[in-house]
C-alpha cells in the first residue's frame, strides 16, 4: 500500500525564537497508508492537532519532514486533495448550509455548478437537507458538525482529516459517522481520525497511533496495541469479611486499597501483573479469613493500552 502521509522525525517547537519553548512534537515518525482509517490518539496537549495542522500547512514544522500525498506538507497541490473537519468548527453566522457549501466548495476549487450539483446529496447524507436554508445560527452543535462533515466530502477528497468528528453528536449521529467512515474506507479513501473517544477509534480504525507529550508512543492495529497489556490480568473480585483485613491484604500485595461495598460484600477491581500475583492474592485473602465469593477476569481493551502508554510521566517534559 502507498503511504499517503509520511512523517520523519517531525518536530514542532512553539516559541523557539522567543525564549519560552513548548515542544509540541518531538521526533514523530509514522506512515498512513492509502485506504486505511488511521486513529490518532492522545490526551489533551499530546500534539495531535499540531500534527494535523502541520500536514495541512496551517502550522510550520520546526524540524524533520512531513509529506502529504507525495507533496511536502502545506503544498497546495496536496491540500487540493484533502478534506478537513477541524475541531470546534465555526461557520460564520451569515451562512445557511447551502451558502456555506458554496463557499467551501469554491475555496476547494469547485465551480458553482459543481457545488450546486453535489451539495444537496451530501446534505441529505448527513441529515441536513430539510434545514439547508436555515441560518447556521439556528443550528445545534451537532448540526454544525454534520455540515462540517458534508463540506469535507464536497470536493471528493482522497484524504480526510477528521478532528473529533462525533463531538456534539447524539448516539445515532455517532453511529452514522462510524458508518460513513467505513463507507469512505470502502471507497478507498484514507481517513485520519483524531479523537478522544477510544471506543470509537477501536471500532472503526485499522491502525492507531498514540501520542503523548509530543512523542509517538506506539503505532499499530488495535489488536497490536492491546498486546501492550498482554499478561496483565484485569480482575473483579467479590469478597465477604472484615474490611480492615481486606485493606491489609491489598497493602501487602501493593494493590490500590479501594473497593466498593454492596450490602455486606466488598468488590475490588484492578489489574494484577500475572497469574502468580493472582495466586498470591488469593492465598492472602484466604489467610485473612475473607470469603471469596467471585473472581472474574475482564478482556484487555485499547483503553487499557492507552492508559498504560500515557500514564508514566515523561521525565523530559518541559
Amino acid at each position: 500500500m502507498t503511504a499517503v502521509i509520511e512523517l520523519r522525525q517531525l518536530e514542532k517547537t512553539y516559541g523557539a525564537r522567543f525564549g519560552r519553548k513548548v515542544h509540541a512534537l518531538r521526533g514523530v515518525s509514522l506512515e498512513v497508508r492509502e485506504g486505511e482509517i488511521f486513529g490518532l490518539l492522545g490526551p489533551n496537549g499530546a500534539g495531535k492537532t499540531t500534527l494535523v495542522k502541520i500536514l495541512l500547512g496551517i502550522v510550520r514544522r520546526y524540524r524533520g519532514s512531513a509529506m502529504l500525498l507525495g507533496y511536502r506538507a502545506g503544498d497546495r497541490r496536496g491540500r487540493r486533495r484533502v478534506g478537513y473537519l477541524p475541531e470546534n468548527l465555526t461557520i460564520p453566522g451569515h451562512h445557511n448550509a447551502l451558502s456555506a457549501m458554496m463557499l467551501y466548495g469554491q475555496l476547494s476549487g469547485l465551480s458553482r455548478r459543481d457545488v450546486r450539483a453535489r451539495r444537496m446529496k451530501l446534505l441529505e447524507q448527513v441529515g441536513l437537507a430539510e434545514r439547508a436554508r436555515d441560518s447556521v445560527r439556528k443550528y445545534s452543535k451537532g448540526m454544525r458538525q454534520r455540515l462540517g462533515l458534508a463540506q469535507v466530502l464536497l470536493h471528493d477528497p482522497e484524504l480526510i482529516f477528521l478532528d473529533e468528528p462525533t463531538d456534539g453528536l447524539d448516539p445515532v449521529g455517532r453511529a452514522a459517522v462510524r458508518d460513513l467512515l467505513k463507507q469512505l474506507s470502502a471507497e478507498g479513501r484514507t481517513v485520519l481520525l483524531n479523537s478522544h473517544l477510544l471506543q470509537e477509534v477501536e471500532m472503526v480504525c485499522h491502525r492507531v497511533a498514540i501520542l503523548h507529550l509530543g512523542q509517538l508512543r506506539r503505532t499499530g492495529t488495535v489488536a497490536e496495541l492491546s498486546e501492550v497489556t498482554a499478561g496483565q490480568l484485569r480482575l473483579r473480585i467479590r469478597v465477604k469479611g472484615d474490611p480492615h483485613r481486606l485493606r491489609m491484604v491489598l497493602d501487602e500485595s501493593e494493590l490500590p486499597p479501594q473497593w466498593t461495598v454492596q450490602e455486606d460484600e466488598m468488590v475490588w477491581q484492578g489489574v494484577v501483573s500475572d497469574q502468580q500475583s493472582l495466586d498470591r492474592l488469593i492465598d492472602r485473602l484466604r489467610q485473612a479469613d475473607l470469603s471469596i465469593l467471585e473472581i472474574a477476569r475482564a478482556r484487555a481493551t485499547l483503553e487499557d493500552a492507552f492508559m498504560r502508554l500515557v500514564e508514566p510521566a515523561d521525565p523530559q517534559a518541559s
Binding site: Y14, R76, R79, L89, T90, S99
Partner: protein, 767 residues
C-alpha cells in the same frame, strides 16, 4: 481566482445578511430622500438692493445735472417722475455741502424712489433713452407695450433701463434665488453678491458636504460596520478550515479586505450617484467630478480599513481592530491639527504676500497685514509694522515711501477686503518713522472713502485711489481735533471739511467693484480694473487725472481682476484664469493667455519700462509676459528659474525681478538674460525653525487619509486651489492649495506597507 472571488462575494453576503448593510444603506437612502424634494427657483433682479447702488451721491448729482439739460435724457425723465419730497431729498444729497449724516439718511430715500419708478409703467420714454445702448433683453422688453407686461417683466424692464443709463452707479445685480422644498418656497428671494449660485453649489457646497459626509462620517461608520469582517474570518474554528483549503493565505486576506472595500464602494457609489442625480435633476448642477471622486473616498476608507483589517487579522478581535483604526485616525488628526495651527497662527501670517518697490526701497506685506523692509546691508527682513495671528481679512493699502522734512516715512493703511465704500470705509493712515533700529508708528489722517491703494506719483506727491475718486494727499499727519465728532454712542463721525486731500480724479469716477488699481511709476498713469472693464487714466498738465480709454475685458463683471501698466502695455488678470494683454493707449486687446488651467492668477506686476510683466498664480507658479517677444516666448514660464514656489513678485527700478519664495527667501532674477542675479536666505526665528525642521517633515511623513479629501475636491473641481465662490470678486483672496497628489503618495506608501507587512506576517505565522 475562483476561491478569492468566492471570498469577496462572501463579504457581500455577510453585509447583506447582517445589519451592517442597513446601517449604511438606510441613512444614505434617508439623506437622498430628504434632499430629493429640495430645489431652487431663480429670479432675475428687478428692484434695487442697497448694495446695488454703487455711488448714490454721484448718481443723484448726475440725474440732477441731466435734469437741468434741455435735451431729453434718462436723468431728465427720472427727475420729472419724482415727487417734490423726493426731489428735495435728492437735491440735499447732490449738494456737496451736505453732511455725511444727511447722505446716509438720503441714500435709502434714493433707493426707495428708484424702486417706486421701477414699478411704474411710465418710466420708459424712447426719446430719453435714445442715446443709451440697450442690450437684447431690454430692447425686447421696451418693444412691448408697457401695459401688456406683467409686473415682473415691467420691473425687469425698468431695472434694465436704469442700469443701461447709469452703468457706473447701478450694478447689474445678480440672480435672486428662492430655495424650495416639495414645490413650496421656503425662503424669500435672496441675492448672493458676486456669486453664481449654481457654481457656489457645485464648487463650494458639494465638496464641503461630500467631504464631511463621505470623508468623515461615512468613513467612520464604514470602519465600524466592516471591522468585524476580518477578525471573524480569523476566528480559530473558521481559520483552520479556510487555511486547509488550496489557497494562498495572504491573497485570501487581501480578497477579504477587497470584499469589505467593494461593499463600501457600492455604498459610496449609491450615495454619490444619488446626490449627483438630485443635484442635476433638482438644481441643474451636473458635475461629473462626482464620479471621479468615488475612488478617492474609497481609498480614504481603504487606508483606515487596512489598519483595522490588519490589526483584526493579527489580534482576531473586532474591538481591538476598531480601536486601532480610531487611534490611527486620531493620531493623523492630531498631527494635522498641530500642523494646521502652526501654519495658520505662526507661519502663514508671517509669509510675504506682496512686494512693493518705492524710491528704491523694497517693502513687503505679510499675510497677517504686517509690513517688512528689506535691509540690503544685513540681508534680512526688518519688521516695520507687526501684525500677528491668523491671516487677516484686511487688505493693506499702500505702502508708500515718502521723504519729508522730518525724514523718511512709510505710509500704510488697512481696510476690509470686502468693504464696498460707505462712510465707515475710511481707512486710518499709519505713519511709520525710523527710530533707531526699530520703526515708530503714529496715527495719521483718515483716508478718503473707499480708498483702495496709495501711490507716489512722479512729482513726489502721494495719491489715494478710492471708489469715489482720486485724491492728492496734502497732509497725512493727524491732528487731535480730527479724531471725529462725538455722537454719544461708541463711535465718532468723521470730521469733514479739512483739506487733507483734494479730488484730482475725473468727475464721473465711480468704481462699482470689484476693482484694482495700478500705477506706472515713471508717468503716473493709472490702470484700473473695475467690474469687468479696464480703463487707463493719465495726469493732465493741470494735475488732474483724465481717462485715456476704457474697454470691457469680460462680460462677467462680478469676477475680480487686477491690472499692471508699463510702457505701452496694460495686463489684466481675471479670477477665471484669463491673462489679457492690452494696448495702454487704445485699450485694444492684443492677446489672451491661459496657461494654468488648474489655478488662477493672483498678482501681476510690470517692469518700469513695460518690457516684462510678471504674473503670479495661486499655485505659486510664475509666468513672464514679454510684449515684444514672439510666439511662445511672449508668455512663458521662465525655464531657468530654480524656484518653483513663489509667494510674491516685484520689479526693482532697474527692471530686475524680485522673487520671494519658500517663506522669506528673496532672489533677484534678470528677465532679459534669464539669469539669477543674487539671492539670500534670511535667518529664521526659533519657532519657524521648529516648524520647518520638525513639524512639517513629520506632517509630510505621517499618512493623513483625511487630506485625501483635497484630492477628491481636485477631481471634482479640476482645480489645484479651492475656489470659493464667495471670493470671486477678490483675486487676491487666498485660494488654498488643494495639493492633490502629495497626500495620495504618502498615504499610498503607508497603505501598501501596512497591507504588505500584514500579508508577510499572515504567511509566516502559525495559526
Amino acid at each position: 481566482m475562483r476561491p478569492y472571488v468566492a471570498l469577496i462575494l462572501d463579504s457581500f453576503r455577510e453585509a447583506v445578511v447582517s445589519w451592517t448593510l442597513w446601517l449604511l444603506v438606510v441613512p444614505i437612502t434617508l439623506i437622498l430622500l430628504g434632499l430629493a424634494p429640495a430645489s431652487v427657483r431663480e429670479e432675475v433682479a428687478t428692484t434695487l438692493e442697497s448694495h446695488e447702488l454703487v455711488s448714490p451721491v454721484k448718481l443723484a448729482r448726475r440725474i440732477r445735472a441731466e435734469a437741468e439739460g434741455t435735451e431729453p435724457s434718462p436723468g431728465k425723465r427720472i427727475w420729472s417722475l419724482l415727487t417734490s419730497t423726493e426731489r428735495k431729498a435728492w437735491e440735499r444729497i447732490a449738494d456737496p455741502g451736505s453732511s455725511p449724516g444727511e447722505r446716509v439718511q438720503n441714500r435709502s430715500r434714493i433707493r426707495r424712489a428708484l424702486n417706486r419708478l421701477i414699478e411704474s409703467e411710465d418710466l420708459y420714454d424712447a426719446d430719453a433713452w435714445r442715446g443709451v445702448l440697450l442690450d437684447k433683453e431690454t430692447q425686447a422688453l421696451v418693444n412691448q407695450d408697457a401695459s401688456s407686461l406683467d409686473r415682473i417683466d415691467r420691473q425687469r424692464r425698468n431695472r434694465l433701463l436704469l442700469q443701461a443709463a447709469f452703468p457706473n452707479y447701478i450694478s447689474k445685480g445678480g440672480v435672486r434665488v428662492v430655495i424650495r422644498y416639495f414645490g413650496f418656497d421656503v425662503t424669500s428671494p435672496f441675492t448672493m453678491p458676486g456669486v453664481r449660485f449654481r457654481t457656489f453649489i457645485s464648487d463650494t457646497i458639494v465638496p464641503a458636504v461630500s467631504g464631511f459626509l463621505l470623508g468623515n462620517i461615512g468613513v467612520f461608520i464604514a470602519i465600524m460596520v466592516t471591522s468585524s469582517i476580518t477578525p471573524q474570518l480569523f476566528e480559530p474554528g473558521s481559520l483552520s478550515l479556510l487555511f486547509s483549503k488550496p489557497i494562498v493565505r495572504s491573497v485570501a486576506f487581501l480578497a477579504k479586505f477587497l470584499g469589505g472595500c467593494a461593499y463600501i464602494f457600492l455604498c459610496t457609489a449609491y450615495l454619490n450617484i444619488g446626490l449627483w442625480l438630485i443635484l442635476g435633476w433638482r438644481f441643474g448642477v451636473w458635475n461629473s467630478g462626482w464620479w471621479t471622486s468615488i475612488p478617492v473616498f474609497l481609498f480614504i476608507f481603504a487606508v483606515y480599513y487596512s489598519v483595522s483589517a490588519s490589526v483584526g487579522a493579527l489580534s482576531r478581535n473586532a474591538i481591538v481592530a476598531v480601536a486601532a483604526a480610531v487611534l490611527f485616525w486620531t493620531a493623523g488628526f492630531a498631527i494635522a491639527v498641530t500642523d494646521g495651527f502652526y501654519v495658520r497662527l505662526s507661519i502663514m501670517p508671517q509669509e510675504i504676500s506682496h512686494l512693493r518697490q518705492d524710491r528704491g526701497k523694497t517693502l513687503a506685506v505679510t499675510k497677517s497685514g504686517g509690513l517688512l523692509k528689506w535691509n540690503d546691508d544685513q540681508h534680512e527682513w526688518q519688521s516695520v509694522s507687526e501684525r500677528f495671528g491668523a491671516p487677516s481679512s484686511m487688505r493693506v493699502v499702500g505702502p508708500v515711501w515718502v521723504e519729508t522734512e522730518g525724514g523718511e516715512r512709510i505710509l500704510v493703511a488697512r481696510r476690509f477686503a470686502r468693504a464696498r465704500g460707505g462712510m465707515f470705509d475710511r481707512p486710518r493712515l499709519e505713519i511709520l518713522s525710523p527710530s533707531g533700529e526699530a520703526w515708530e508708528s503714529t496715527n495719521g489722517i483718515r483716508l478718503p472713502q473707499g480708498t483702495l491703494d496709495l501711490f507716489t506719483i512722479p512729482d513726489g506727491g502721494v495719491i489715494a485711489v478710492g471708489i469715489d475718486g482720486i485724491y492728492r494727499i496734502h497732509r497725512w499727519a493727524s491732528e487731535e481735533e480730527d479724531e471725529g465728532v462725538p455722537t454719544g454712542f461708541f463711535f465718532k463721525l468723521p470730521r469733514f471739511g479739512k483739506r487733507e486731500f483734494e479730488p484730482i480724479g475725473p468727475s464721473d469716477w465711480a468704481l462699482r467693484g470689484p476693482s484694482h488699481v495700478a500705477i506706472d511709476p515713471p508717468t503716473g498713469r493709472l490702470a484700473v480694473y473695475d467690474g469687468g472693464e479696464v480703463a487707463v487714466y493719465r495726469m493732465s498738465e493741470r494735475g488732474k487725472y483724465e481717462q485715456v480709454g476704457r474697454t470691457t475685458v469680460t462680460s462677467d463683471g462680478e469676477q475680480g481682476g487686477a491690472v499692471a501698466i508699463g510702457g505701452t502695455t496694460v495686463v489684466c488678470i481675471l479670477v477665471d484664469g484669463d491673462v489679457i494683454e492690452l494696448d495702454a493707449t487704445t485699450l485694444k486687446k492684443r492677446h489672451t493667455y491661459r496657461r494654468e488651467p488648474k489655478s488662477q492668477p493672483r498678482q501681476v506686476v510690470a517692469a518700469r519700462d513695460g518690457s516684462t510683466f510678471a504674473v503670479l498664480y495661486h499655485n505659486h507658479t510664475l509666468y513672464l509676459l514679454r510684449p515684444q517677444a514672439k510666439g511662445e516666448r511672449r508668455y512663458e514660464r521662465p525655464s531657468e528659474l530654480p524656484q518653483r514656489r513663489i509667494d510674491a513678485v516685484g520689479f526693482d527700478e532697474q527692471g530686475t525681478l524680485q522673487l520671494v519664495h519658500h517663506f522669506r527667501r528673496i532672489a533677484w532674477f534678470d528677465p532679459k538674460s534669464e539669469k539669477m542675479v543674487r539671492q539670500y536666505q534670511p535667518g529664521l526665528t526659533w519657532s519657524q525653525w521648529i516648524y520647518f525642521t520638525i513639524v512639517r517633515p513629520l506632517d509630510r511623513i505621517m499618512p493623513q487619509p483625511g487630506e485625501l479629501k483635497n484630492t477628491a475636491q481636485y477631481l471634482m473641481l479640476k482645480k489645484e486651489t479651492t475656489d470659493g465662490d464667495f471670493n470671486r470678486e477678490d483675486i487676491e483672496a487666498p485660494r488654498e492649495s488643494l495639493n492633490p497628489w502629495e497626500p495620495l503618495l504618502a498615504t499610498g506608501v503607508f497603505f501598501v506597507l501596512v497591507l504588505g507587512l500584514t500579508c508577510l506576517v499572515i504567511e509566516r505565522k502559525d495559526f
